[in-house]
Structure formats: structure tokens, C-alpha cells
Symmetry: C2
């Protein structure tokens, strides 16, 4: 299994649950956005096998910490994650609450002119809200 190495290398034991979650998250051509509940549904659909919600939360947070997932900064009652971990941005369709990827080249270079002493920039994220 291709994910066993990946998990071991990050110091995460390759458990059955984590491998199943990897398959749902990373066995696709396209990257995608999801909430925990959507992921829970996907897992049930794909594997006919319920994984405890607590495990899904734990795993998603572990993957995020390891850099396999990104949280999307957005105001919503639910947290959105992204399997696309490349440098990119988002449209947010306010009417439908839907996210759309914006490639870095769709936004153009962003040059932050101000510096904060002792801090360095970890990420620059652009959220473009859309209305009708």
C-alpha cells in the first residue's frame, strides 16, 4: 500500500482507519474541499465502513499538522479543508457556500511590503467573495 510509507515517514502508525481516510482523500485525480461531515459521508459511501467521528477529527488534524491537508480560512460554522496543498487561493460563492480554486496565476504575484520584526510569512491566502 502506497500510504503506509507516507504515514510511517510522518511518525503516524498506518492504521486501517488512517489508510482508508488516505484513500478517500488522496486517491483522486482532482483535489477537493471538504468539511468533516462531508468526509464522513464520503468514507461511508466509499468503504461501507463507518469510522468514528472522533477518529476522523483526529486524523484530519494530524494530516493537517503534517502538511497533507490545508485549512481554508473562511467564516463558516464548519471548518473547510483542502486536499490541494499547493500555493493557491479561493473564490467563495456566498449564495451557495461553495469554494472554487483560484490558481496562483489567476491572482498574480502578491508582494507584502510591510514587515513585522521577528516574524516571517508562513502563508498568503486570498479569499475572493462572490455575489450574484
Amino acid at each position: 500500500m502506497k500510504y503506509i510509507e507516507k504515514l510511517r515517514n510522518s511518525g503516524l502508525r498506518p492504521t486501517k482507519q488512517r489508510l482508508q481516510i488516505c484513500e478517500v482523500l488522496f486517491d483522486t485525480q482532482k483535489t477537493f474541499h471538504f468539511t468533516i461531515n462531508e468526509l464522513d459521508q464520503k468514507i461511508k459511501n466509499k468503504t461501507n465502513n463507518k469510522i468514528s467521528l472522533a477518529t476522523i477529527y483526529n486524523t484530519v488534524h494530524a494530516f493537517e499538522k503534517k502538511g497533507y491537508l490545508k485549512q481554508i480560512p473562511i467564516n463558516s460554522n464548519q471548518t473547510y479543508f483542502d486536499t490541494n496543498i499547493t500555493d493557491h487561493h479561493h473564490f467563495y460563492d456566498l449564495k451557495y457556500g461553495k469554494l472554487i480554486d483560484l490558481e496562483n496565476s489567476d491572482v498574480g504575484p502578491i508582494n507584502i511590503k510591510r514587515k513585522i520584526d521577528g516574524k516571517k510569512i508562513k502563508s498568503i491566502e486570498v479569499l475572493v467573495k462572490l455575489e450574484d
Copy 2:
């Protein structure tokens, strides 16, 4: 009172509670960021007068809808608001969970090249995460 007109003009009745909230939010030189609980505290401190949490939520949302406040898109368990409604962006200090204003001129013009049919851009918000 200078806020009575402002409220009336927006179709909001100038109630005692709304006027007190206006004073806490807008009677300052500097703009600031806040959560609902922080605002609740500020109100208690400034006016020795508790306003029901439900009213604070209602009022903040009403003010946001009228454009007197902005929500800051950020991943947190609490919603952050900003009394600075000009076009601007934010640093987010991950270590201390603190927001710092970034003027538009600190970021430079952002030109979104991609269009979504039938949608128009309502806002463009940049979040720059800082680490040590």
C-alpha cells in the same frame, strides 16, 4: 447623539442598547478587532450595564449587514469582527492568535484574472499568516 441619525438612516431604531454598542465600537480614534465576547466585556466595562448576549449578536449582525462592521475570514472557534471597514487586509500572528491590519498599500493591487459567469466580486481579502 451622533449615532441616532446613522441608525435611523439605515432603518434601525436607535434603541438604548444600539446606541451604547455604537459608543463602544465607534467612539475611538483607532479601529479594532473583536469577538462577541470581547465586545460583551467592553460594554460591561464602559457602561456598567449588561446588554443581553442575544442583543449583542443581533446588533453586530445588523451592523455588519449595513456595512458598519466587517467579518474577518479566519479559522477560529470564534468569529472576529473589524471596525475598520476600509479596503484592507490582515496579518495573523499564529503564535499569539493576534490580528494586525495591513493597509491596501502594504499589499499592492490585486488583479483577479479569472471570472465566474453570473457572479461578481464582492470583496477580496488577504490573510497573511505569520510564524516566528
